[in-house]
Symmetry: C2
Subunit: 458 residues, 2 copies
């Protein structure tokens, strides 16, 4: 690919993205496709000779787009917002242009130093003064927190855990499944993952937490990890972080706080309550790739004292030693992977091109849209609002599970809105997750009209 | 950031990348910087108000670039090639533009189906007919392989490994450190990681491997994982894969093959010998982000039977269930992370815009440059070639360790070439790792001249 074709195709893609960001996709937000249908259109082998940019762009438009769930279309209300934005896309483009590997300070000083600094900016903006590092996802982040916790109880154990008392982890029954996956990967067993029951508002019942810890100690186990959640996946419930931190402190247990989705809201002074007690914890994360317009993947992981994490993950073969070791942070020792992208660039772009006020303005809009939509749900005959939305997710139902499910399927079949479900306390719930970078009062009106149409047709 | 500014800054970055790819960086390839120096220039907090694209680009040029090790400059011969290319950069840009999350088939059918297909293309091109998935890095890949192996011996064990016989893994003393990290993360202990001694050519001594396995069985341990390497990090040594596969088969041990760097060479018919025996193994990986011009991160991970891997990593909370489950692959069950980028797009771009022949042509050039450089080293008085380069790395020394180290430091201080070291059999070695996307006979001449200058000055 020569310089001229690169520039030409580059401009074309930039233009395509600019239009896509402005107008969304001109087909259904969620494609009505069958498994294997797209793959059947693809050749069986890679081409031997080069193909043209024009052919590829044509295939992209005719084949990829109609088989894509459009996460960045304002009609997308499923799962969680997974936002890109102009600044993030351009920051990542520049990072790919450099193409460095930021595994150690010496392998790219600018990448490590910018990462330290933008993570400090971000921590400060949410009221946290801990060192931070960018992980790819919250799954990796919670796994790292768990490994640090394991290291801090089994200090220097390099013999495996065959002779250890079972290590027990605790989280609420509404917490994210990545914690169970982390326990399993770490070889500590699903069996020792306690799911603490939740109260009426889906927050952790700390009385039961204490009882479970006592029972485990009684049984000769070693409680070592508690994960609290600020903004659960199903209903954005918030655990009593301060209270849990006191329990963790009393029993000398590592306390990790998962605010993967909701953490962004802590940028707002009026939402500071979200962070109450977090500074008493040991580690904390949130995902700018969810609600802070920083393209996936970008998980902001903070840790009060990184010593245990680095001790757990540091391995120094000869070919990775550098003259700067000891005087610098080598972020490869803060995570699973050795190689690392220059992800700080996109975060730097987002923070500078939006400014904190620019981000806050968008978040406030999303929170206001959430409240407006919740009131609208309450006003619709037949629709029941579930709980009291305090962040950016509204859950509702029709009373009966099968008809709720049927309504969601009708809505999604229109192609004019996409939402996903959960089940809480036996109740099938439709989740509407706000936070689209390109959402507006006008797109909210369209959402209401779409749901109204499906209710009328039901 | 409005549409017009996005387009303008996008064009500017595309132009900057086009120039950077053509000419490299106009300063030293490796910057002579002190820890903390760049960070001291950065503000202490994120800006409250938006800043302009012009300010950011100016900071990028005046601050980031002079503090960057330029991995994609043709003067970079350190570590391993970590190549970007025009096609990969554009494919990733388009993927970021879509901004989907490819965790499940249903969360983006096009991403999963394209990934299945391009991995099939890639497997076919190197003679492997196993299903494949894109992992971020080889560290994650080998960890997944190890978890699959663990699952296949401890089938369905969800109680942790407290009551298990110790599980033992084997690899050569020249293998990559990520395997030890994987053992430690999996809770199986550094202690049960056996580093099998190597022969004169740095390949695994399989007689000792068999002896170690027998001793472990004798001691009541359970051998469960062997990792063979095609192209070790230090000297690109190649383990006897076919022989190891027979041993693994006899003892019923999972056999993983790590060809992170060298795998790309298997695209050439004349290098098919590299893959001999691989189809007898259980899993295999190589990194297109190393030597196949596919920007980091892109690790091609193949597995003969993914059942154990999926069993090890699958967790199905209600909010992730989709109507298509059971009929499709959900790649979140093939890896650590839940969220996934649409990485197949960049691989699709690379394979189509280069074509397999276009890639082979570049690889052949790099192999020829390697041989030419090795002969040149042999011809220089005082320089000693270490071993016989068979892939793309040349190791050499001056006889005495301190003077070899001093020579490397002199070369790197010129800013006209960057290389890194290793130690093998007590010998300090300078490694020259070929494979730059923009390398040529002319850049090779400049390398020789730089080294010659440092020898003359030494």
């Amino acid at each position: 690919m020569d310089k001229q074709s690169f520039r030409q195709m580059g401009y074309e893609i930039i233009d395509w993205i600019a239009d896509y960001m402005e107008s969304g996709y001109d087909g259904p937000v969620n494609p009505p496709v069958k498994p294997g249908a797209m793959r059947a259109q693809l050749p069986k082998s890679a081409p031997e000779q080069p193909e043209s940019p024009a052919q590829i762009m044509a295939d992209f438009k005719s084949m990829i787009l109609p088989n894509t769930l459009h996460w960045n279309d304002p009609r997308f209300y499923g799962y969680f917002p997974c936002n890109h934005s102009g600044p993030a896309i351009l920051g990542d483009l520049l990072g790919n242009g450099l193409g460095v590997n930021a595994m150690s300070w010496a392998t790219c000083p600018s990448a490590t130093e910018l990462e330290i600094q933008v993570m400090q900016w971000l921590g400060k903006a949410i009221g946290l003064e801990w060192p931070g590092v960018i992980q790819d996802t919250a799954s990796t982040g919670v796994f790292c927190a768990l490994l640090a916790a394991r290291e801090s109880v089994a200090n220097g154990n390099r013999d495996g855990f065959y002779d250890s008392a079972p290590l027990v982890a605790y989280t609420s029954d509404q917490a994210h499944s990545s914690l169970l996956k982390a326990m399993r990967m770490a070889g500590l067993g699903d069996r020792y993952m306690r799911l603490v029951p939740t109260l009426e508002d889906q927050s952790m019942d700390t009385d039961v937490l204490v009882r479970m810890i006592d029972e485990d100690i009684e049984a000769g186990h070693r409680p070592f990890f508690i994960c609290g959640t600020i903004g659960t996946t199903s209903t954005t419930a918030v655990d009593p972080i301060l209270e849990i931190s006191e329990i963790a402190d009393e029993y000398d247990i590592w306390f990790h706080v998962d605010a993967a989705l909701a953490g962004t809201a802590a940028l707002l002074p009026e939402m500071e309550w979200l962070m109450e007690g977090v500074e008493q914890a040991d580690s904390f994360l949130f995902n700018p790739h969810k609600w802070m317009f920083t393209s996936f993947d970008c998980c902001a992981f903070f840790i009060k004292d990184p010593a245990a994490l680095k001790h757990a993950l540091s391995i120094q073969p000869e070919y990775l030693k550098t003259a700067a070791d000891g005087a610098v942070e080598n972020f490869r020792d803060w995570s699973i992977q050795l190689g690392r992208r220059f992800r700080a660039l996109k975060l730097w772009f987002v923070l500078r091109l939006y400014g904190l006020e620019g981000i806050r303005e968008k978040i406030r809009l999303h929170l206001a849209m959430t409240q407006d939509f919740a009131r609208w749900v309450e006003d619709q005959p037949g629709l029941h609002l579930f709980g009291t939305p305090r962040i950016q997710t509204v859950c509702f139902h029709l009373g009966e599970n099968e008809s709720t499910k049927a309504l969601m399927e009708r809505i999604n079949a229109t192609g004019e809105a996409f939402m996903t479900h959960t089940v809480v306390q036996g109740q099938y719930l439709i989740r509407v997750s706000f936070g689209q970078a390109h959402g507006s009062w006008e797109t909210l009106d369209r959402l209401k009209a779409t749901i109204q149409g499906c209710l009328d047709a039901g």
